[in-house]
Structure formats: structure tokens, C-alpha cells
């Protein structure tokens, strides 16, 4: 089984600052980690490999230093790693990111399942997974909490919805995004870490992917963050007076007026 896992390197701290001029994250001096949601995707991919054989290929798009995330993925059980790195990829929105990833997946050749985390903890959009499936023209299931069955051309998964679960069948190849309920990611092994230190990481840029540079990075992005700000907190307080029954009546009126009940 050929398993592909897409992951992203994100700032490891919750106290990141935003550059007021560019509206992008200030990444200097902050330790990067694999996006926590993606660690569940990787773990599920490695478990599928252990059960059904095959290999796990991890892909990330990012600066050259993002190879650290790929090496960590190898220490956790991934077999091959591809780094998509090119100045032209910088500043990509989810669409341009998904486009670039989709071209890399196409270049990898035959795959059975592509697994992503449900969202990143920095961008928080949750869009790249579904966009990837759309661009690759394959079925997509989000918020998967269990892979119930996987066969040559068929997949049955349980996915989380607001008030319960849905069981969905899809043909393979398919793209799924996983929820953190799906597994408990393992810690790396010593042999895995040692292997990861010397592992070869394949790097592809626009030339290798054969993409037009107007389709990737900032140039290929149809959305752009123009402002990042803290919402102004507005609160109004009102103290109700009168006896208890009168206060309750007033409160009910207010709540009805605000369409809260």
C-alpha cells in the first residue's frame, strides 16, 4: 500500500507575534514542530503500513529548514520524505499550497491513500485537505476518527460529525483528514532517530514539479491576508432592579429581545 502523508512545520509556541507590516507570523527565534494534528495523520499512515505493508511517503512544503520536520517523521516511521522548497512557493495561501502539494503527489506516482491532519494550528483553515482531494479528483472524507476497513480499492471510515458519527465508504485512492481521536501517536525510537539523521530527503522546486510560477506561492494565491488584529471586546452590563419576580420578567424579555431564547 502506498501511503502519502502531508504535514506542515508550525511554530511550537502559542505566543507567536505577528509582523504588523506583512501580517505574517514572525518565525525567528521560535522552535518549530510538526503541526500536532499532522502527527495523528502520520501515526495512522505508519499503522496502515505496519498492518498492510507498503511504504509511507511524507511531503511538506516549506523553507529548506523544514527538513527537520521530515526527519522527525522518518524517526516516527515514515520511509521516504519529499521537501517542496522554492522561493517561488513562498507566501502561498491554501489554494496555492494545495496545488503545489497535488503536483508533488502526482509526480510521486501511484498512491492508495493520502492522509492529512484536520487543520494546522497556525493557519487553522482546514482547507488544504479537501482542496487536495478536489485537485487530484479523488474522494474525500474529513474528521476521520477510525479507519474501519481498507482493501485494495475500497475504504470504510468512521468520521466525526456534530452529534455522532458517520460511516462512509469510498473508493481508493482517496484523501482523508484525521481527527485527534483516531490514535495516540507514538514516540520515536532510537533506531528511527539514528536512521532519520542520515536519511536522504528529496527536494523538489518549480522545475522538478513542472509548474508555472504564477500558479504557486504568493502569485498563485487568490486570497491574501491584509490585516490581522485582535477583535475589540465590547461588553455592556445592566443591573436589573425590582423584586425577584419583576427581575425574572425583565430578564426573560431581554433574552427574548436578543433572540437568545
Amino acid at each position: 500500500m502506498n501511503i502519502v502523508v502531508c504535514l506542515k512545520q508550525v511554530p511550537g509556541s502559542t505566543s507567536v507575534k505577528i509582523d504588523p507590516r506583512t501580517n505574517t507570523l514572525i518565525r525567528q527565534g521560535i522552535e518549530n514542530i510538526i503541526n500536532p494534528f499532522d502527527t495523528y495523520a502520520l501515526e495512522e499512515g505508519v499503522r496502515l503500513k505496519e498492518k498492510h505493508g507498503g511504504k509511507v511517503t511524507v511531503i511538506t512544503m516549506g523553507p529548506p529548514q523544514a527538513d527537520v520536520a521530515l526527519r522527525e517523521a522518518i524517526s516516527l516511521g515514515a520511509d521516504e520524505a519529499v521537501l517542496l522548497s522554492d522561493r517561488a512557493f513562498a507566501g502561498a495561501d491554501t489554494w496555492a499550497t494545495a496545488y503545489t502539494l497535488s503536483r508533488a503527489v502526482a509526480r510521486l506516482g501511484k498512491y492508495d491513500i493520502l492522509i492529512c491532519g484536520r487543520q494546522t494550528i497556525d493557519g487553522d483553515t482546514g482547507q488544504v485537505g479537501p482542496e487536495l482531494a478536489e485537485m487530484l479528483g479523488v474522494p474525500f472524507v474529513a474528521y476521520v476518527s477510525r479507519i474501519e476497513e481498507i482493501k485494495e480499492n475500497y475504504l470504510r471510515v468512521r468520521r466525526m460529525v456534530e452529534e455522532g458519527h458517520e460511516v462512509i465508504e469510498a473508493t481508493l485512492p482517496a484523501v482523508i483528514t484525521v481527527a485527534k481521536e483516531i490514535n495516540v501517536p507514538r514516540l520515536p525510537s532510537l533506531r528511527g532517530i539514528m536512521k532519520s539523521k542520515s536519511a536522504a530527503i528529496t527536494t523538489w522546486g518549480i522545475k522538478e514539479l513542472g509548474v508555472d510560477q504564477n500558479m504557486v506561492g504568493l502569485a498563485g494565491s487568490s486570497t491574501q491576508v491584509i490585516k490581522v488584529f485582535f477583535p475589540q471586546r465590547v461588553c455592556q452590563a445592566e443591573i436589573l432592579t425590582g423584586d425577584l419576580a419583576a427581575q425574572v420578567d425583565k430578564l426573560i424579555d431581554k433574552l427574548k429581545g436578543a433572540r437568545l431564547i
Binding site: 520515536p188 532510537l190 533506531r191 532517530i193 539514528m194
Partner: protein, 385 residues
């Protein structure tokens, strides 16, 4: 302090710390309270390749030595000394095999210990043979088809949980200690049973049991090295394993120092945090000095063992004695700094204090080891006089 560890040693230490903090810390109080053997943690350690650290590469290990083992033990002990000794005892259980075993014996037993599928244990202590280790009574009589074991081993770490036991027994009881031999006994061998799990003051998650041999027949091929060398093999083993107890002490004391420092930082009395008071500062400083001096001595002894030096008795005894005495003192002081809270089981330092005491007792009491150090002093004096 920088101990100039190699990249691989730093990797081993880093991953050990992660396992300890992420997997052991959340369950350590429960393991202690329920006196439950940490099989879940053992599995985690196994899948992280931790049991491969001390096994040669030819037998699926990573080829580390005493120092690498010490680094793992220290990090585990910083969070839970009971888990640390469970891990270390598996190494102790196969070190004689690694040193004296034949190629075939090593191939048979070591890969399973390296993978963590099986735990090891070492058994010499008996009701009549504690510090007087040569006074063992268990016999291994040579009979048709192997050795017939009879007798009882006491206080055996990993007893009942381990699958592979290195047992010191008399193959020639007329010769006393010179008739002792080291023999591998596998769990589930007919005639080999276990006593109840001992209820201990500390390191409660670890299993300590009696091993009972009653006409237990083991194949002749399980004898390690030559018959009659068992006692010497055991003494040599402890010379090489004692820095590991030192490392257990260093980790434990480090954990207690950190807990006491955290508490002193947060606890306010007389309108100021304890850590601003000179009396507390000096206690913490003395604790830190003890911990670092212990670590330096333990690492130095471990490196001396790994250098292949012939006589490491003195160095390893010093490391074990110094570090375990320090751990006892540091954990007592940690409870003192944490005061009434420290005495409560909701805080970790009372467990650390209970866990520390055994370090002055097992693998040679600190009194016996001081004897050994003094013997060396006298010998050296005699040579130079």
C-alpha cells in the same frame, strides 16, 4: 555542566527524558499507590529501542556501554526510580551472559532482551546470603540431561515478570563460593516458581519476589562460562553495574531538587517566596552541589568501566556509595523544604524519599562497599610501602 556526550548519547538521553516526562509522569503516582508492575511503560521503552541500548549490535542492540545505560537510568529515575530499576534489572540479568556466554547462548537469549519482548533478572541473594553473598545454599546438581536446581532466591528484582534469569547456584557444594556457577533459567521451566510480590517502602512499581527452585532441571547448555566461576562472575558483574545504581541515585536526586526548587519558588510565607530566604537557598545550593558531584563521579566511573579497565571495583563502589548517600540526603531535604505538603502523598517528594533508601542497600550495602574501597587502599599502601 557539559559532560561532552556524543551525539548518540545525547539522543539516548533526550528520548529517555521524553518517555519519562510524557509517559511515566502521568502514571507514576498510580503505579506507586497500586504497587503495579509497569508493563505499559516497559512496552513503551521497548518500542523506543531502550532495551537495545546495552546490547551489542550483533544481537540486535545498539552497542552502548555502561555510560549509555546510566544516561537512560538517570532520566527514568528523575521521574520514577521504580521504573528505572525495572529497566536496569533487565540489563543486570543479561550482563553475565554478554560477558561469558557462548555465541550460541547470546544468539538464543539476547535478541529477545534487546527488543524488550522479554525482561531479564539476576539472582544471587538468599535468606542466608545478603552482604555475605558467598554463603548461598541453592544447589545446581549435575545430573543426566543438565543441572537440577534446588533452593530459594530472595528479593529478586523483576522476579515473576522477567523471562530470563541468571541464577548463581552451587554446582559443587563441597567447595563453597568456589563451587558456584552462573546458570540461565527461563521462566516456565518446570520446578521454578515464585513467591508473593514483596511489599516495599519504595520503588513500589518494581517487582521483587522470591524465586523457588524445586527439582528444576535446566539444560547443561544454560551454564555460563566454566563451572565454579559463578561467584567471581557475580562480583565482576556488580563492579560493572554499580555505576547504574549511582545513575539511579543521580536521577532521583535531580528530580527531588527540581521539585523542591519549584515549591520554594511558589510557596509564600512571611510575604515572600521561600526561595528568597537564605536558609532555603543554602539548602537548595547544597542539594545542587551533591547532585552535580554525584553525576560527575558516576559518569567518570561509567567511562572507566567502558574503557575496559581491569579493576573497576573501587571506582564503581565510590560512585554508588557517594551518589546514593547524596540521594538520601537530597530527598530528605526536599521533603523538609516542601514542609507539610512534602509529607503528603499528593506531592512527589515523599515517594522520592522512600525510593532513595534502597539505593544505600542493594547491589552491595554502602558499608560493604566502603570495606571494598578500604581493602583497595590497604593494598595500594602495601604495594608502595
Amino acid at each position: 555542566m557539559d559532560y561532552f556526550l556524543t551525539e548518540q548519547q545525547k539522543t539516548i538521553r533526550g528520548l529517555s527524558r521524553r518517555i519519562a516526562e510524557e509517559r511515566i509522569l502521568p502514571v507514576r503516582a498510580e503505579l506507586d499507590e497500586k504497587e503495579e508492575f509497569p508493563w505499559g511503560i516497559v512496552k513503551e521503552l521497548a518500542s523506543a529501542d531502550m532495551f537495545r541500548v546495552f546490547i551489542p549490535e550483533a544481537y540486535d542492540g545498539l552497542g552502548g556501554g555502561c555510560l549509555e545505560l546510566c544516561l537512560v537510568v538517570e532520566e527514568l529515575s528523575r521521574i520514577c526510580s521504580g521504573v528505572a530499576v525495572t529497566y536496569a534489572a533487565s540489563a543486570l540479568g543479561c550482563m553475565t551472559l554478554m560477558e561469558y556466554g557462548t555465541e550460541e547462548q547470546k544468539r538464543k537469549f539476547l535478541p529477545d532482551i534487546a527488543s524488550g519482548r522479554k525482561l531479564g533478572a539476576f539472582a544471587i541473594t538468599e535468606p542466608t546470603a545478603g552482604s555475605d553473598a558467598s554463603n548461598i545454599k541453592t544447589t545446581a546438581e549435575k545430573v543426566e540431561g543438565g543441572y537440577l536446581l534446588n533452593g530459594t532466591k530472595q528479593f529478586i528484582t523483576n522476579g515473576g515478570e522477567a523471562a530470563i534469569y541468571t541464577v548463581i547456584a552451587l554446582t559443587d557444594k563441597t567447595r563453597g563460593a568456589r563451587g558456584a556457577s552462573a546458570i540461565i533459567v527461563e521462566k516456565d521451566t518446570p520446578g521454578f516458581t515464585f513467591g508473593k510480590k514483596e511489599r516495599k517502602m519504595g520503588i513500589r512499581t518494581s517487582a521483587t519476589r522470591e524465586l523457588v527452585f524445586h527439582n528444576c532441571l535446566v539444560p547443561e547448555t544454560n551454564l555460563l562460562g566454566k563451572p565454579g566461576l559463578g561467584f567471581i562472575q557475580a562480583m565482576r558483574l556488580f563492579d560493572r553495574s554499580r555505576p547504574g545504581i549511582g545513575a539511579q541515585a543521580v536521577g532521583l536526586a535531580q528530580g527531588a531538587l527540581e521539585a523542591a526548587t519549584d515549591y520554594a519558588q511558589e510557596r509564600v510565607q512571611f510575604d515572600q517566596p521561600l526561595i528568597t530566604m537564605p536558609v532555603v537557598q543554602h539548602m537548595l545550593a547544597d542539594m545542587a552541589i551533591q547532585v552535580e558531584a554525584s553525576r560527575a563521579l558516576v559518569y567518570a566511573a561509567a567511562r572507566y568501566v567502558d574503557s575496559g579497565a581491569r579493576n573497576v571495583t573501587e571506582a564503581s563502589a565510590m560512585a554508588k556509595v557517594f551518589a546514593s548517600d547524596a540521594a538520601m540526603k537530597v530527598t530528605v531535604d526536599a521533603v523538609q523544604i516542601c514542609g507539610g505538603s512534602g509529607y503528603m502523598r499528593d506531592y512527589p517528594v515523599e515517594k522520592m524519599m522512600r525510593d532513595a533508601k534502597i539505593l544505600q542497600i542493594y547491589e552491595g550495602t554502602n558499608q560493604i562497599l566502603r570495606n571494598a574501597i578500604a581493602v583497595n587502599l590497604r593494598k595500594r599502601r602495601a604495594r608502595t610501602a
